[in-house]
């Protein structure tokens, strides 16, 4: 990369921005101190290069942090429409606009069981002893890289879900993160803690109120799944195409627990997601699903790591990507197996379907295995839409576009089949259809 690149990337938020931001907060001292510590780390990390293995394929030259600032006051709240809401019954909902919570609700029955769900900021303050030990300490490390540290210094708003021991939340919960104003930097955080034996489903989506506003999201997702617990988490990234999206996401799965994690990437101008799946406890399992549809000049990048840290752990990652126009998708996947993690079963696969000659996809799976009694497999495919499939559909009366739509739907179906939540499957299918569009698809 040229030096000019490194220079612009080293320009981040200075202490003036940080002090201004701090003055706008009314927070307990411990929180402010944690922010100051994170800001120091952020400043020192700005001086270092990004990990080339993770970032070398992603062109960030056009990124200029100074163009985006955190909103210092909450904007007027009004309903923001979401893809998933109103389509099903939720046990609780929360919405954020430009980093501020605009409303949240939890059913009385769930609240009575001790479930906490709502604004992370206020719940961290009111339940500090319970929550602070988890926040940016177990799953995502503040010093992981400059984006993690940046987030830790400036996080605002956010969704917290805490489910006590053996409590089962049967209805899904919904979290919406929205951008409204131009030039806003959003640092929302999602923290989910399931105590031993708990069960829950959280559906989260990100959206922009209008297609024109430019925005930045430096986010963080932390999923902490206790022993024998079961978490299903879906994140549907649907920003407008003027938004930069950087996210550190990590899930820690304890013994005999299971995590089903679905990542959907539809929006953003440039997105980079660092996704860690940490199989911390014996016989823990994780299933990771990815649905990505890139169009126009979008660049969507994933760095996934399935880290087997204990014996008898099981991970299964399936990403599927559809690329149109001049878009680019990067997937760098890694399965890591520690020496103690014998009898581990790790699987990763990424399949890309290219709808245009000018799209580009890089899929790079990788294995790092220190144990000797494991089964790890990986694979990646990239291909154009099969002409014989198109002809077959057309010979049954479908137009070329309709044939393409059908083939793309079918391509994603394999991932949908792994998602046991009907509203998610339906919403994804509809959203993909609308992104395919009836007019714009190329021949």
């Amino acid at each position: 990369m040229a030096t000019a690149t490194a220079d612009i990337l080293r320009v981040g938020y200075d202490s003036e921005v940080f002090e201004n931001f701090l003055r706008s907060r009314r927070e307990p001292q411990w929180m402010t101190e944690a922010r100051r510590a994170a800001f120091e780390i952020y400043q020192s990390l700005l001086e270092t290069d990004l990990d080339p293995e993770e970032f070398k394929r992603l062109d960030l030259r056009a990124f200029n942090a100074a163009k985006y600032r955190p909103a210092l006051v909450a904007s007027q709240s009004e309903e923001v429409s979401a893809l998933l809401s109103d389509k099903t019954e939720f046990g609780g909902t929360i919405a954020h606009v430009d980093g501020y919570v605009t409303g949240s609700r939890l059913s009385a029955e769930l609240a009575a069981t001790g479930v906490l769900f709502g604004d992370l900021q206020s719940l961290l303050e009111s339940h500090r002893e319970l929550l602070e030990p988890y926040f940016l300490k177990k799953a995502v490390r503040v010093d992981a890289d400059r984006f993690a540290a940046w987030h830790a210094a400036f996080w605002t708003g956010g969704t917290l879900l805490y489910v006590p021991r053996n409590v089962e939340v049967s209805l899904p919960l919904h979290s919406l993160i929205a951008h409204r104003q131009d030039g806003i930097a959003d640092f929302s955080h999602t923290l989910i803690i399931l105590e031993d034996g708990a069960r829950a489903t959280l559906l989260e989506e990100t959206t922009s109120v209008t297609p024109e506003t430019a925005g930045l999201h430096v986010g963080c997702v932390e999923l902490i799944v206790g022993r024998n617990a079961c978490l299903r988490y879906v994140q549907l990234q649907n920003w407008n195409q003027k938004t930069w999206h950087f996210a550190h996401q990590a899930g820690n799965v304890d013994a005999n627990a299971s995590l089903q994690w679905t990542v959907v990437g539809l929006g953003s101008r440039v997105a980079h997601i660092h996704q860690d799946i940490n199989l911390d406890g014996r016989a823990s399992t994780a299933e990771v699903n990815g649905v990505t549809f890139a169009s126009d000049r979008q660049k969507i990048s994933y760095y996934t790591q399935q880290h087997h840290r204990q014996q008898g752990t099981h991970s299964d990652l399936l990403y599927r990507e559809v690329l149109r126009d001049d878009s680019r998708v990067i997937w760098r996947g890694m399965i890591k197996v520690d020496k103690v993690a014998q009898q581990t079963d790790g699987y990763q696969r990424s399949d890309a379907l290219m709808l245009s000659e000018t799209a580009r996809c890089d899929s790079i799976p990788g294995l790092e295995i220190e144990a000797d009694d494991v089964r790890c497999t990986h694979g990646a495919t990239t291909g154009q839409v099969d002409r014989e499939q198109i002809f077959y559909c057309m010979s049954r009366g479908m137009t070329r576009k309709e044939a393409m739509h059908m083939i793309v739907e079918g391509f994603f179906q394999t991932v949908y089949d792994r998602i046991p939540i009907e509203v998610v499957r339906e919403t994804l299918s509809r959203t993909v259809q609308s992104k395919l569009g009836f007019e714009t698809i190329s021949q």
Partner: protein, 269 residues
Amino acid sequence: MNSLLKITDLHVSVGETPILRGVTMEIRQGEIHALMGPNGSGKSTLAYALAGHPNYTVTNGSIEIDGVNVTEMEADERARLGLFLAFQYPVVIPGVKVADFLRHAVSNVRNPERKEGEGLIGMREFRKEIRDRMTELGMDHEFARRYLNEGFSGGEKKRMEILQLAMLQPRFAILDETDSGLDSDAVRVVSEGLAKLSGPQMGVLIITHHERLLEFNPPQFTHVMLGGRIVETGDSSLAHELHANGYADVRARHPQAAAENIQAEAATA
């Protein structure tokens, strides 16, 4: 009025290689035609060219349905005019359920003016219809929920083609070696299925090497193709003769076409 599929002096190339060198044939609704010929004679090329496969370029001649020239039409427009090809090698469409695929196909073929996104045939009506057709063809209803041809055996794929034929009720059906690669039970199922479906409303062109399909569906016309031309046309007795004696006599009667057939076979090998 009986519809007419009219093929006139059709020349077709694949890339730079000419395969069909002037095929003329008329198929009326209600008629069954058999098309026979050795490997490389151009039978499948004719089938693909009729269906509108983009790799098969018509360099001369025409295909008309009731006077409408379809030679330049896309495959979907031809399908909407009532043309159907049962594929020799049906294509797998991963993740697309048989029922969803057929519901779209049926909606387009029955409502040729339909645009994408416009209404599909009613779900209840469609479900009943597909179930009835599957029952008639001795197919498990579970098929409707499977992904199209994914993991299907050879016999299941061919039966799926017949199911599509039954649902789309075309005016003209071309069956490209629908009986190849099947065991005798499967051939019987497919042959009986076709016999039930064909009638006064359907013109059928059966491309086959075997006799079984023709036993159940006796052709009024048998065409023999050699070197990209129809060299002989007769009735069903010609089909019997070819089954019994092979193509040696035909080759001897048409030495030039036979030589061109050998060239074509070498070029495609």
